[in-house]
Structure formats: structure tokens, C-alpha cells
């Protein structure tokens, strides 16, 4: 019958209209600045640099290998490698980024930089309230703005951070064991040498 569907539709919208005044669960709107939903575990928007310890400059995991810079599809990362070296978390001397800039107005949040990083140094942040009055300088983040402690990473992506921490700890233990083995061997060699000399 012609017009039946229109009546059904009108009844449906009337039900919605009346129901929205009666039942609160019909209105799914979250009134944002006052109310917020906690972001889900996989939330991501822009990258940040992880550092260990209290001092951000000393603790940066980044070794300025520039893989992320090369892989970045929209080319929003700019890195200048340092001339000197500083010890990394295993104690091995490494280069560090003298400059590390990300233009988040260019970044497309693809997470490729995170996936290619061999040092777990760059991760995705969940901070999205980044509006600024200066659309050029205000959205170009330098390494100080990008550096965030590992605790922050644990807070925003707990499961992922735990896995990373375990892997880094294992690596460090392995490196420590290797160093210990090497020093033991060296000590044994040193102990053996006088005997040889005495021969």
C-alpha cells in the first residue's frame, strides 16, 4: 500500500523523539570538554620520543640512526646526528639526535616510524588537544617537546609498554652477560699470560 512506509517511518521518528526525553541511554552524545571517554589501548595520533630515567636529554633512547626519517612517508621528521657519543641504556656509546623535529601538521599518524625503530625510541602518543594559534611554529615539535618518560608510555599503552620493557630488560641482561663473559675471558687471558711469559 502506498504511504505505508511513510507512516511507519513517522512512527519511528516519533518514538525516537519521545524516547530521547524519557530514556537517557538513547542519547549517546558525550558532551566533550566536560565529559570524556577514556581512550582505548590502541589509540594513537602523533609520535613522541621515549626517554628512561629522570633527565630527558641523557635518557633519550634515540640513537639518531635516521631510519624513521627515511621511512616517513610524508617526510615530517628531521634529524641531525650528534658528533659525539653518549652511552645508551646498555652502556654502549651511541650517537644521539642533536636535533629531532616532527612537524605534526604534516604527520599522518601512520605509525611507520614506530614500526621501523630498532631501539623502541619512538612511540605513538594519545594527546590530541594540540590546537595552537601559530600553525607553523606551534605545530613543529622539537626534541624537548617530543621527549616523554617511559612512565608516560606505560600509562597510555600498558600492555605494549610491558612487552617493550621486558624485551629491553632481556636485551640488557644479555648484553650484560656478554660483557661479563668478555671481561671474564679477558681476565682469564690476563691471568694466563704471566704463566706463558714465565715459560
Amino acid at each position: 500500500m502506498l504511504g505505508e512506509g511513510i507512516l511507519k517511518g513517522l512512527a519511528e521518528t516519533a518514538k525516537n523523539f519521545a524516547g530521547s526525553f524519557v530514556s537517557a541511554e538513547r542519547l549517546t552524545t558525550v558532551q566533550y570538554p566536560e565529559e570524556r571517554i577514556a581512550p582505548i589501548e590502541a589509540t594513537r595520533d602523533f609520535p613522541f620520543l621515549v626517554y628512561d630515567g629522570a633527565d630527558w636529554e641523557a635518557g633519550l633512547r634515540c640513537v639518531a640512526c635516521q631510519i624513521c626519517e627515511k621511512e616517513c612517508p610524508p617526510k615530517c621528521i628531521y634529524i641531525e646526528k650528534s658528533t659525539d657519543k653518549k652511552p645508551d641504556f646498555t652502556g654502549k656509546p651511541q650517537f644521539y639526535p642533536a636535533r629531532f623535529d616532527i612537524d605534526i601538521s604534516v604527520c599522518m599518524s601512520c605509525q611507520i616510524c614506530v614500526e621501523v625503530c630498532p631501539f623502541e625510541a619512538i612511540k605513538m602518543d594519545t594527546e590530541f588537544e594540540l590546537s595552537t594559534e601559530d600553525r607553523f611554529a606551534g605545530l613543529l615539535f622539537d626534541r624537548k617537546q617530543l621527549a616523554k618518560p617511559n612512565e608516560h608510555y606505560r600509562k597510555i599503552h600498558p600492555a605494549e609498554a610491558a612487552a617493550v620493557d621486558a624485551r629491553l630488560a632481556a636485551e640488557k641482561a644479555k648484553a650484560g652477560a656478554r660483557a661479563k663473559a668478555a671481561s671474564d675471558a679477558a681476565a682469564a687471558k690476563a691471568a694466563a699470560r704471566p704463566a706463558e711469559g714465565g715459560d
Binding site: 504511504g3 512506509g5 517511518g9 521518528t13 525516537n16 524516547g19 538513547r26 542519547l27 549517546t28 558532551q31
Partner: protein
């Protein structure tokens, strides 16, 4: 007391005009009336926009605007200020004069229609013997203005929107007029005041509104459909279909000119709702005889706002039609039924005052509705949407 309240605007106008010398009084009275209409209806427009935004929100399980003022009631003020302060952009290659004139023509033409609407007892600005004819005659430039807007913008979307608008508005003008002719036939007058008077009788406390007759009910439904299409209102909002034409004929309008188009569209809805209320719903007469003491203008505006709510409800419910569905519906369904309704109205007039005319007229209309709908649905010209994809 109630008599005074009923005539309060008439008396107020007479009192104000009384301060002027005798020669000026007629002209001043008209100017006063015009000023009242020009102030009142944009205010109603603001109210309706708020109602619409809140109502549509609720229909879609949203809250709607609630930030500006308590419960968002100052939203229309914010909207108005925004459109006033926005930059007015005219495309470089647009026809400047026509581009400028189009919104003015629309608003002027729509405002003219209010002159003959009886908004209460003795509250018709211009009393005319052929006011219905006048109403449709001055309403005609709205089509022109929309085409002016589309043509002068020099934009393909504007032009397409304007083409659609003209095709649609001319198609639906015919059933709109034909469905009103039935009222004219029965009331025996083209004067809207006389049409209201003819409906302002009561039997057992119930009014003799034309909607409560078989031909009047059919006429009202046809009128409502045609009026919705005539005002480019959803589900007939093809001329400005956002999803396909950006914004249709007002794509190239910004700032206050766009606000004028918006205003014109809503004023057109008020005006056609007022006409529908006058023709079929007894204009300013009360729905029950015991409510006769309520001032007549309250009834007119209550009916007007009720019609606006119906418009909003329809907009919240129905998806937009396709152009061929729209045209088929106008020429193959609405127009034949409107023509038939004329015959039925004539039959009603000549069958006398018995119960026979109720049965016969209702039966003719119901059967023809069912048969025509069945035939059209079978021919796949109307009814559920079906799409054939290429390949």
C-alpha cells in the same frame, strides 16, 4: 475583555494611527501592518530554526544545540550574528546585479503573500475579493528568484540546482493550485476571509472545517504534498541536495545573502502553512465551539506552528527523492488525484445534505487512491527505491 484581547492588534493599530492627521491614517495603518508582519515572521523563523534543530536532534537521538544560552535557546541569535558578520563573497565571473537581486526578490515575493492571509478576526492586511489568486500570483517570482540565483552564480552546481528547482516547482504548482480550486468551488469565493467565514460554523461543538470532509481531506493531503515540494522542503529538497549538489542554487551565496535565502525558504513555509490552515483547517477559527473565547490569532499561529512541526517531522523521517521519482509522483499521481478531487468536490456540492454524499465521495477517493497507487507501484514508477547498477 476577551473581545478586546481578540481584537488587540486591530485596536492597537487604530490607536497608534489616531495620532496622525486624518489624511495619513490609511497609509500609516498599512505601513504599521507591514512592519508587524516583517518583524513577526522573522522572529517566528528564529523560533522555528531552533525547534527544528532541537527536534531533528531528538529524532536522531542527539541532544541538539545546547551551548548558547540555557538549553541553547539563544542559538538563533548566534546564527544570525554569524551570518551577519561573515564575508559576503561574490564569484568574480558571476552576474553581479542578478546575483545581488535574487535573494531580495525571493524574500520580497514571499513577504507579499502574507498580505492576504487572515491571521485573526479582522486581521487581514489587505482585504481582497480575489486574495487567493493574488497569493499565487505574487508567489510566482520565488521560482524566478531561485533560477536567477542559480543562473547568475556561474557555477554548475548552482545551475543544476536551479534547473531542478524550476522543474519541481512548476510541476507541483499545478496540483497545488488544483487542490485549492476544490475549496474555492465549495466556498464559492476566492477571498480567503470568506473561505474562513464559510468554515467558521459548528455542529455539536465541532467545526465545519473542510479537512473534515472527504474531498477536503484528500485536498489537504494533496495540498500538503505539493506545498512541501513547492517550498523545496525535505523529502523534496532536490534543488539543494547537499549530497549531490553542494548546496544547489545557493552554493555561491555566503553571509547575509545566504541568510536571506534561508529566511525566504522558511517564510515560504510559514506562508504556505498559513494558506493551508486557512483553506482546510478553518484559519483563525477555534477547533471546538466551547473554545471560541480564545483570541482568534492564537488559533491561526497555533495551526501555523503545528504545520511547521509537521514539516520538521517529515524532514526528520524521509530520505530525499530521486528526480524521476519526483516528477512521476507529481504528474502521474498527485495531479490525477487532484483533478479527481475537483470532480468529487462538485459531486459533494450537488448530492445535497444527506449521508449519501459522505459514502459516495469517500468511496470514490479511497478506491481511486488504492487503484492508482497499485497501478503506479506495479509500473515501478512509485514505491520502494530500486537501483539497477551498470554491468
Amino acid at each position: 475583555m476577551m473581545e478586546t484581547l481578540d481584537q488587540i492588534f486591530v485596536l492597537l493599530s487604530r490607536w497608534l494611527v489616531g495620532f496622525l492627521p486624518a489624511g495619513w491614517q490609511t497609509a500609516a495603518g498599512v505601513v504599521l501592518g507591514v512592519a508587524a508582519i516583517v518583524c513577526l515572521f522573522p522572529a517566528l523563523f528564529a523560533l522555528t530554526v531552533l525547534l527544528e534543530r532541537k527536534g531533528l536532534g531528538r529524532m536522531q537521538n542527539r541532544i541538539g544545540p545546547n551551548r548558547v544560552g540555557p538549553f541553547g535557546i539563544l542559538q538563533p541569535v548566534a546564527d544570525g550574528l554569524k551570518s551577519l558578520t561573515k564575508e559576503d563573497i561574490v564569484p568574480t565571473r558571476a552576474d553581479g546585479v542578478v546575483h545581488f537581486l535574487a535573494p531580495l526578490v525571493l524574500v520580497t515575493a514571499v513577504f507579499m503573500g502574507f498580505a492576504v492571509l487572515p491571521m485573526g478576526r479582522n486581521m487581514t492586511l489587505v482585504k481582497m475579493d480575489a486574495s487567493l489568486l493574488f497569493y499565487f500570483a505574487v508567489g510566482a517570482p520565488t521560482e524566478l528568484s531561485i533560477f536567477m540565483a542559480g543562473w547568475s552564480s556561474r557555477n554548475k552546481y548552482s545551475l543544476l540546482g536551479a534547473m531542478r528547482a524550476v522543474a519541481q516547482m512548476i510541476s507541483y504548482e499545478v496540483p497545488l493550485l488544483v487542490s485549492t480550486v476544490a475549496v474555492v468551488m465549495i466556498a464559492g469565493s476566492l477571498s480567503l476571509d470568506k473561505i474562513v467565514e464559510a468554515q467558521n460554523h459548528y455542529t455539536w461543538g465541532l467545526p465545519h472545517w473542510y479537512i473534515f470532509t472527504p474531498w477536503g481531506f484528500a485536498g489537504f493531503v494533496l495540498f500538503a504534498i505539493a506545498a512541501t515540494a513547492e517550498t523545496n522542503r525535505s523529502p523534496f529538497d532536490l534543488p539543494e541536495g547537499e549530497s549531490e549538489l553542494v548546496a544547489g542554487y545557493h552554493t555561491e551565496y555566503s553571509g547575509f545573502k545566504f541568510a536571506l535565502f534561508f529566511l525566504g525558504e522558511y517564510l515560504g513555509m510559514f506562508s504556505v502553512a498559513g494558506l493551508g490552515a486557512t483553506l482546510f483547517l478553518g484559519g483563525w477559527s477555534a477547533p471546538f465551539s466551547f473554545l471560541g473565547w480564545v483570541p482568534s490569532w492564537i488559533w491561526f499561529f497555533a495551526k501555523l506552528l503545528l504545520a511547521m512541526c509537521a514539516f520538521i517531522w517529515l524532514r526528520g523521517t524521509l530520505p530525499r527523492l530521486r528526480q524521476d521519482q519526483l516528477m512521476n509522483f507529481a504528474w502521474k499521481f498527485v495531479l490525477p488525484l487532484a483533478m479527481l478531487n475537483l470532480m468529487v468536490a462538485a459531486l459533494w456540492h450537488f448530492l445535497g445534505h444527506g449521508w449519501a454524499r459522505w459514502v459516495i465521495c469517500s468511496a470514490i477517493l479511497a478506491v481511486s487512491y488504492v487503484l492508482l497507487a497499485w497501478a503506479e507501484m506495479r509500473g515501478r514508477r512509485l514505491g520502494p527505491r530500486s537501483y539497477r547498477y551498470a554491468g
